[in-house]
């Protein structure tokens, strides 16, 4: 009998498909507030085990297929990365890094599936000025709502991972949805479903963390002494996590930030600037009104007119 993998995703239901993820599950909504949700969904997570990835790009293909993004055929730029970067039509790309381990002098091929990390404290959402264009569900998924998006690109500035991309076609921002539409019907993300080596798995955040611990123990037993889980606390943890062979050096994985956080510039812009700005503008307007009430209008007097008349006539006559 075939041994089934613990986190094998179920096949799609064909009947009685009920969406169980909606606006009632929002915990955050950009540029607006939401009432606390009545229920708390179990936090979900996608775990990407880089040590298991073979770089086949089945996840990219599955992502394109499920999201029906149909990117144009690209050109080979001389490396395996194809396309070379995320685009409004590519919510995930494999980034290939060649790294010589200084201890073993082995060449290690590090392949990181890049895409939205679904931060617990999302910088995109903090930066977004359009009410309801970015939402966060209680299960941890951060999603873009395109009909509310104004295409300003503030989410790009807020994101510590440089993920969102603005479409030149409809001028709205796109990124990985963690397949929220599939998760809503009890499925997992398309990439996880397609991954042939189970390098991408999906489940509750707790299960994924526990599974990662086993994987890390295994990697350590095989000489990767710094193996670890990437679940950066600077953004409150993420709902896409990596198992890294070298968790002490996240940057070697195509620039994965070692301590991602919302940029302090964004915090100033979206925090103190907003309040200080209103106070400053209000103060100037108030001083103006108060001054007018106290001094009254500065009117030209009859005497001024006479003086002017004398001056002009004096010169002209």
């Amino acid at each position: 009998m075939r041994r089934t993998f613990e986190f094998e995703l179920p096949n799609p239901p064909t009947q009685n498909v009920n969406t169980d993820l909606g606006t009632m599950d929002l915990v955050r909504r950009s540029a607006s507030t939401v009432p606390p949700p009545a229920r708390q969904l179990t936090e979900v997570a996608k775990l990407i085990d880089i040590s298991k990835c073979i770089g086949c790009k089945a996840c990219e293909a599955a992502c394109i297929e499920w999201n029906d993004t149909r990117p144009k055929i690209g050109t080979n730029i001389g490396v395996y990365d194809n396309p070379p970067d995320l685009t409004p039509d590519m919510f995930t790309v494999m980034r290939f890094s060649e790294w010589v381990n200084p201890k073993t002098e082995n060449l290690e091929w590090l392949i990181r599936k890049d895409g939205c990390m679904h931060c617990a404290e999302p910088g995109c959402l903090e930066a977004c000025p359009a009410p309801g264009a970015i939402v966060q569900y209680s299960n941890g998924i951060v999603d873009f709502v395109h009909e509310n998006c104004i295409g300003c690109g503030y989410c790009i500035k807020g994101c510590p991972f440089n993920i969102p991309r603005i479409s030149a076609v409809d001028h709205t921002a796109y990124k990985c949805t963690l397949c929220s539409d599939r998760v809503a019907v009890g499925q997992g993300p398309a990439c996880a479903k397609a991954c042939p080596t189970h390098a991408i798995i999906f489940g509750t955040k707790e299960e994924m963390t526990r599974h990662a611990e086993e994987r890390i123990k295994d990697l350590k037993s095989r000489g990767f002494e710094n193996a670890g889980l990437y679940d950066p606390p600077g953004v409150g943890g993420t709902h896409v996590m990596y198992v890294l062979q070298h968790a002490d050096l996240p940057e070697i994985y195509a620039g994965l930030p070692s301590n991602p956080r919302i940029s302090p510039i964004v915090d100033i812009w979206k925090g103190v600037t907003k309040y200080a700005g209103f106070i400053a503008m209000g103060a100037f307007a108030t001083i103006g009104v108060a001054h007018h009430l106290l001094t009254g209008p500065n009117k030209v007097s009859r005497e001024d007119e006479e003086n002017a008349k004398h001056l002009v006539e004096g010169e002209r006559t």
Binding site: C152, G153, I166, H171, H292, D304, A308, L311
Partner: protein
């Protein structure tokens, strides 16, 4: 007499009251195009600055339209203001008496202009507004172009864009405050708005607020 602050078109007409041409038709059109742009920019910009003001984007037909129209209005304002700058910069050069005027700001604000030095075409307050507007508009167009992702997104890094958008927000706040000062001064000093609508002031207005300018005009 070559007075630095007499501008082309400035003319005194004897009569009762005396009238003085202060702003040419071209200058007035130029001013009001700039003013309209500045107000539209402030409204559209504020709608993207604070969620409480997002509803203002409705005046432009929604968030998407606000997002694309804001930078284009900015371009119009930049060139329109450039016209004002070319017209007015010479008469706004800082003079020694401007320091004295500023030092006696208390007398100015309490409407005791007889205690302050006679002023040319522009007083130190107007000059401050002029130069602040100039510096801020350059800051805003530069930071605005960096933030204009649709056309210039590819030229700068995300970190540069973050700095640019913060600078843009801060400069916007300051320019709105400068604008409040400008508009309030025009309201408080009666006759000023008329100068920018009809182009003319009365002799008494010029005598009271810009006596040096009036004397230079008369002696021209």
């Amino acid at each position: 007499m070559t007075a630095y602050d007499l501008e082309p078109g400035d003319e005194v007409h004897p009569g009762d009251p005396v009238t003085v041409d202060r702003y040419t038709t071209g200058a007035r059109i130029n001013h009001w195009i700039t003013a309209t742009c500045l107000v539209l920019l402030a409204i559209s910009g504020l709608s993207m600055f604070h969620p409480a003001l997002f509803f203002l984007s409705g005046l432009f037909g929604g968030g998407q339209i606000t997002r694309w129209i804001h930078p284009w209005i900015g371009v119009v304002l930049f060139f329109s203001f450039l016209g004002l700058f070319i017209r007015f910069w010479r008469a706004n050069l800082w003079r020694i008496e401007d320091g004295t005027w500023l030092a006696k700001l208390r007398d100015v604000l309490s409407a005791h202009e007889e205690r302050v030095p006679e002023v040319g075409k522009y007083n130190a307050g107007q000059k401050a507004v002029f130069w602040l507007m100039s510096i801020l508009i350059i800051t805003l167009i530069a930071s605005g172009l960096i933030s204009w992702d649709q056309y210039f997104g590819a030229f700068t890094s995300v970190e540069v864009k973050r700095i640019a958008i913060l600078v843009h927000a801060l400069a916007s706040i300051i320019i709105i405050c400068v604008w409040i000062v400008h508009v309030y001064a025009a309201i408080w000093v009666r006759g000023s708005i008329h100068a920018m609508t009809s182009g003319q002031v009365t002799g008494g207005w010029a005598w009271r607020h810009h006596r040096k300018w009036l004397k230079e005009l008369v002696g021209k």
